[in-house]
């Protein structure tokens, strides 16, 4: 089943996304079964109470090569703030006066139960489902301190996520899912989760050795090669086979912040 969260008539609402959605554009309220038109909602982050957001750097062999890095011998993990999260079909901004901002289409594994020292063999029991995120990066802001630093990776709106959370067992095998990114309709990134260096079971074992994982924690598993600069006005679609297609509109910093700019 696909679970989403939306803003409808000013309130947050949990909905399911049925197979008929592609034809009807209707979402189903989990409270009373009411059918709601997509046009009447704002999509939210599908994880109700986001916990720790782990993200992986250089976790696809082809992307590491693209950035002229040796593939890491140990996962390169960084954390992101929940301020970065925004929903499907929402705006993300390009900061003023920068040279290079790129998308990163990533499979996100969402933790469903608390655990510590979880073995690789048991790891998948702790995953409730999957979603897609677009873990934008501003390369201009990279510094060699806690790289990639928060200024690069923890900016408001720069981790769109969704459209929905799909149950783990509805996806099944995640070791060879196709990933694509389209910018304004043009294919700009193409890869497969088969190229992941440190896979989800490894990461659950690795992280849970360090710390307790809790429901709502998320692991964004990295991105394959295919970087491209983004500009205000661009529409970017990050899609992962069997999981979903996440649409984001790029706007200027001034448009995004409005009165607060």
């Amino acid at each position: 089943m696909k679970h989403a969260r939306v803003l409808f008539n000013g309130s947050e609402l949990d909905v399911t996304v049925e197979d008929s959605f592609a034809e009807t554009g209707q979402l189903k309220s989990k409270i009373d079964g009411q059918l709601i038109n997509e046009a009447d909602v704002t999509w939210l982050c599908p994880v109700k109470e986001p916990g720790t957001i782990f993200a992986l750097g250089l976790n696809y062999a082809d992307h590491a090569a693209e950035l002229a890095f040796e593939p890491p011998k140990e996962p390169l993990v960084f954390l992101k703030g929940a301020n970065t999260l925004t929903g499907h079909k929402q705006n993300a901004y390009r900061p003023d006066n920068i040279e290079f901002q790129h998308y990163e289409c990533e499979l996100v594994a969402v933790i469903g139960k608390e655990g510590k020292n979880i073995s690789r063999e048991d790891a998948m029991d702790y995953i409730v489902g999957y979603t897609v995120c677009n873990d934008f990066a501003i390369r201009d802001y990279l510094e060699n301190y806690y790289r990639p630093n928060l200024r690069v990776k923890s900016r408001d709106s720069l981790c769109p996520i969704g459209p929905w959370l799909i149950d783990r067992d509805d996806v099944g095998d995640i070791t060879n899912l196709k990933l694509t990114t389209h910018v304004n309709g043009e294919l700009t990134q193409e890869g497969t989760t088969a190229d992941i260096i440190f896979d989800v079971p490894f990461l659950v074992e690795y992280l849970s050795k360090i710390m307790t994982l809790k429901p709502g924690d998320m692991i964004a598993t990295g991105t394959p090669k295919g970087l491209k600069d983004m500009q205000p006005g661009d529409t970017v679609v990050c899609e992962i086979e069997k999981v979903g297609a996440l649409v984001t509109h790029i706007v200027s910093e001034q448009t995004f912040y409005g009165d607060k700019y």
Binding site: V77, G81, Y145, Y146, R147, D156, T212
Partner: protein, 217 residues
């Protein structure tokens, strides 16, 4: 695992903000992998599994299934936000602060600052946050004093930080919108104190608040 009633959303910590440490590391900053001193505040998160409370026992870290050989601690003045803080100037920054408290950052020994230190800094219960949120007119005038088993190990005047409280709030608020219940730990002593299992760690800001924790076994 203790919940903390004060921090609700993000606990942002500032590293390399002790002027003495910052100046002493200039030669190291020039070398690989850094290739230049930091131009911006060096920030890291302590995620929600780390949050703990005054009086709590801090778990002794396990590394690959065995007790860690060493842990270290630093204390910082912590800013608690009372209202949403987005893109504010240095002059108005303190208006968004509800009050101040203390944060202990327990970690493994810091090896370097090149990559995010998940292994060293994300340990369960490793970030106790004080119980009181106290209004203070001038946070720059405060001094954080830390003792281990009754012996003073660090004394850090906030005025000796590379970047002060208002500047940090302003800079960080342009990166991420801060919400009520978000906390910034503005700076830790460059020389973190080594601790052993069972040690008692006490930090105080005279006349404002204190924070007490004990290391587990």
């Amino acid at each position: 695992m203790s919940k903390n009633p004060i921090v609700k959303g993000k606990l942002v910590c500032v590293a390399l903000n002790d002027a003495e440490q910052f100046n002493a590391m200039q030669a190291e900053f020039a070398e690989a992998p850094y290739k230049g001193a930091p131009q911006q505040p060096v920030l890291y998160f302590k995620p929600h599994n780390t949050w703990s409370t005054d009086g709590a026992v801090v778990e002794w870290a396990q590394v690959d299934g065995s007790p860690a050989e060493q842990m270290v601690v630093g204390a910082s003045l912590a800013v608690v936000f009372g209202k949403e803080c987005c893109r504010v100037s240095e002059t108005e920054a303190l208006d968004y602060v509800e009050g101040y408290t203390l944060v202990h950052d327990f970690s493994l020994v810091e090896q370097n600052y090149y990559r995010p230190d998940i292994k060293g800094k994300c340990l369960d219960t490793s970030a106790p946050i004080g119980a009181d949120v106290v209004a203070v007119a001038d946070p720059q005038a405060l001094t954080v004093v830390t003792s281990v088993n009754g012996t003073v190990v660090n004394e850090t005047p906030v005025s000796q930080l590379v970047r002060g409280v208002a500047e940090l709030i302003s800079t960080i608020s342009y990166i991420m919108t801060l919400q009520p219940g978000d906390v910034i730990a503005v700076g830790f002593p460059g020389q973190r104190a080594t601790v052993a299992p069972g040690d008692k760690v006490h930090s105080v800001i005279d006349g404002v608040t204190e924070l007490n924790n004990t290391l587990g076994q």
